[in-house]
């Protein structure tokens, strides 16, 4: 750590004014550090900790959007509650028995796994291409950045236009190539809406993956490849035996980052396929309940559940990934 060298150093110089002693200096630094951290801590408390706690609190009440302070404690009713009728039948209610919620959980994980999987493979391929030396590489790298630079809402609208059933380019192209015989309503059709979302997300996020993979690839010393070449090892074997193991750490971090991002997806689906049950994710139905359907407390319960799921993933990530926090290199 940088400060240890500083602490262990004898005070230098002896001017007329006595210099503060070492421990005093350290104490002063710690005091200053606390002061410097305070604004950030207050900000994070205000926008993260407090709202989160309030969301969790709301999930145990019957608060409505029109009367935010009038909620009463109702325990776990938003999550799960049951009532036994006189006939002996038990009726279960709450998010945990809501098919719409479980559909959203399924959609979210399906989306996250498929899209991140595709992005990883394609990102690695693009990175391998960009890592090779060829003329015009700078231009290609700039071109690859463009989908990443386009705002998500714009790319959603853009692809909604390309996927348009009547006048869209995708239908036109596939028809003229003879792949489809009649126009397909890509974003409205239950079978294709999910894949439309996947295509747009992969298109938009593969550049990010490619850049992170490229950074990992560039850390591999070139002489490793030269040695493999001299030994006459097949490039495919070199890829699996040398390249992949060496980029794996960088790749894993990128995958988990993207995974957490994909689990909370909202904007792309909200704009591209707003009404398709096949693409409703946890964030989408939470917000629907919170704001649109005036089931504020119920929506809070769903967002709390989403938070728990993501928190679990983060804990797993920090635990498995052994993130370098102390700066020990």
């Amino acid at each position: 750590m940088t400060t240890t060298a500083l602490d262990g150093r004898p005070p230098q110089g002896s001017g007329p004014v006595a210099r503060p002693r070492r421990s005093e200096l350290q104490a002063e630094r710690v005091r200053a550090a606390r002061l410097f951290l305070l604004p950030m801590m207050i900000a994070l408390m205000a926008v993260a900790a407090w709202p989160l706690l309030r969301t969790i609190w709301f999930s145990f009440t019957n608060t409505s959007l029109s009367n935010l302070s009038g909620g009463e404690w109702i325990g776990f009713s938003n999550y799960l509650t049951w009532r036994t009728l006189e006939s002996g039948r038990t009726i279960w209610r709450g998010t945990l028995v809501d098919p719409a919620w479980w559909n959203a959980v399924y959609n979210t994980f399906r989306f996250a796994i498929i899209s991140v999987g595709l992005e990883t493979v394609l990102g690695l391929l693009v990175a391998l291409v960009l890592n090779a030396e060829f003329r015009g590489r700078a231009i290609v790298r700039a071109a690859v950045l463009i989908p990443w630079a386009i705002p998500t809402i714009v790319s959603a609208k853009l692809w909604a236009w390309l996927f348009n059933d009547q006048f869209g380019m995708v239908n036109d192209m596939l028809m003229s190539l003879g792949i489809i015989s009649q126009k397909v309503a890509w974003t409205a059709n239950a079978d294709t809406a999910f894949w439309a979302v996947i295509i747009v997300d992969v298109w938009k996020t593969t550049p990010f993956m490619a850049l992170l993979c490229l950074a990992g690839l560039q850390m591999i010393p070139r002489d490793m490849y030269e040695a493999a070449k001299i030994d006459g090892i097949h490039p495919v074997k070199v890829f699996f035996k040398v390249t992949l193991p060496l980029v794996k750490p960088a790749l894993m971090v990128a995958v988990i980052f993207r995974m957490l991002d994909a689990l909370r997806i909202f904007d792309l689906i909200y704009v591209l396929t707003p009404n398709s049950p096949a693409t409703k994710t946890m964030s989408i139905i939470s917000r629907e309940n919170l704001i649109d359907f005036d089931k504020f407390a119920y929506g809070s319960a769903q967002s709390t559940l989403l938070f728990l799921i993501i928190a679990l993933c983060v804990i797993l990530y920090i635990w498995l990934g052994k993130v370098d926090l102390g700066g020990t290199k």
């Binding site: 400060t3 989160l52 291409v129 290609v140 790298r141 998500t152 390309l162 036109d172 928190a311 926090l325």
Partner: protein
């Protein structure tokens, strides 16, 4: 495999990558210059060059106002994040104190927060302070994703600066505040440009909070305005105007990203690979 085929296959891959990356936006530009019935004719080359859609989007409705809102919100968000981020990251990178690792872990965890989890609580807070439907609501809420990221990247960067410069300043009797402003800040510019740019892009593109915390067309930011652009009737989507608006908000961003390419990639990898 003969070398010629190999080279050909490689360049084919390059061409496919470039076309897939660039074509959709190119098509949006084509569409934005089309009007009337030609809008509904698919063409792969420029056929018309009509600025009407741009004139419409900039003269009708609140779109110029939305652009101004986005600029204000994104700029102030970046300013706040950098101000809070620089001081905090100095403390985190340079001073050893108890609970530092825990604090870094917390910051990392906050950066992975699902935004929807704080939506209900933030909604109440924003209503309570009375800033609902103002830019302040967005500036406040955007702190949740810009600040952790900024602190994280700046901490990584500051940790790598040599100890000697700081020691010299301490020997000269400089206070921590002077050390930050006079010693570190001049060295931090590259990192601050990077994080500032990424925070700006994040704030410029944000949708969920902007959709929820604004309610009138004059307070909306650009992404919400584009998402809600509609035609005269429900069944008539004004694609030409939507594409013109999209091009207007995207071109500056693409220029920014291409100009600062290296810095942005460095920032992404510092936030991603190291963290």
């Amino acid at each position: 495999m003969p070398a010629a085929i190999k080279t050909a296959a490689f360049y084919l891959a390059v061409v496919v990558i470039v076309v897939v990356a660039v074509f959709p936006f190119y098509y949006a530009i084509l569409t934005s210059f089309k009007t009337g019935t030609s809008l509904f004719q698919v063409s792969y080359w420029p056929t018309e060059f009509n600025w009407q859609n741009y004139r419409d989007v900039l003269s009708q409705g609140a779109f110029p106002r939305n652009i101004l809102n986005s600029v204000i919100v994104a700029t102030l968000t970046v300013a706040c994040a950098l101000l809070l981020g620089v001081t905090a990251s100095y403390a985190l990178a340079r001073v050893r104190f108890r609970g530092r690792t825990l604090l870094l872990l917390t910051i990392l965890a906050v950066s992975m927060f699902p935004q929807i989890a704080v939506l209900a609580g933030l909604f109440e807070l924003i209503r309570f302070i009375g800033i609902f439907n103002t830019p302040w609501a967005l500036i406040l809420s955007y702190t949740i994703f810009t600040l952790p990221f900024t602190v994280w990247v700046l901490t990584t960067f500051m940790r790598d600066l040599p100890v000697e410069i700081e020691e010299a300043a301490i020997v000269d009797g400089a206070t921590p505040w002077v050390i930050i402003t006079k010693v570190f800040l001049p060295l931090m510019w590259p990192a601050m440009v990077t994080t500032g740019l990424l925070a700006f892009i994040g704030a410029w593109n944000e949708f969920l909070f902007a959709l929820t915390f604004t309610s009138s067309s004059t307070t909306r930011t650009v992404p919400v305005a584009i998402a809600l652009l509609s035609g005269a009737s429900q069944y008539e989507t004004p694609w030409g105007i939507i594409m013109a608006a999209s091009v207007i908000v995207t071109v500056p961003l693409i220029v920014l990203v291409l100009v600062f390419q290296r810095k942005i990639v460095a920032g992404l990898t510092a936030g991603g690979v190291k963290g």
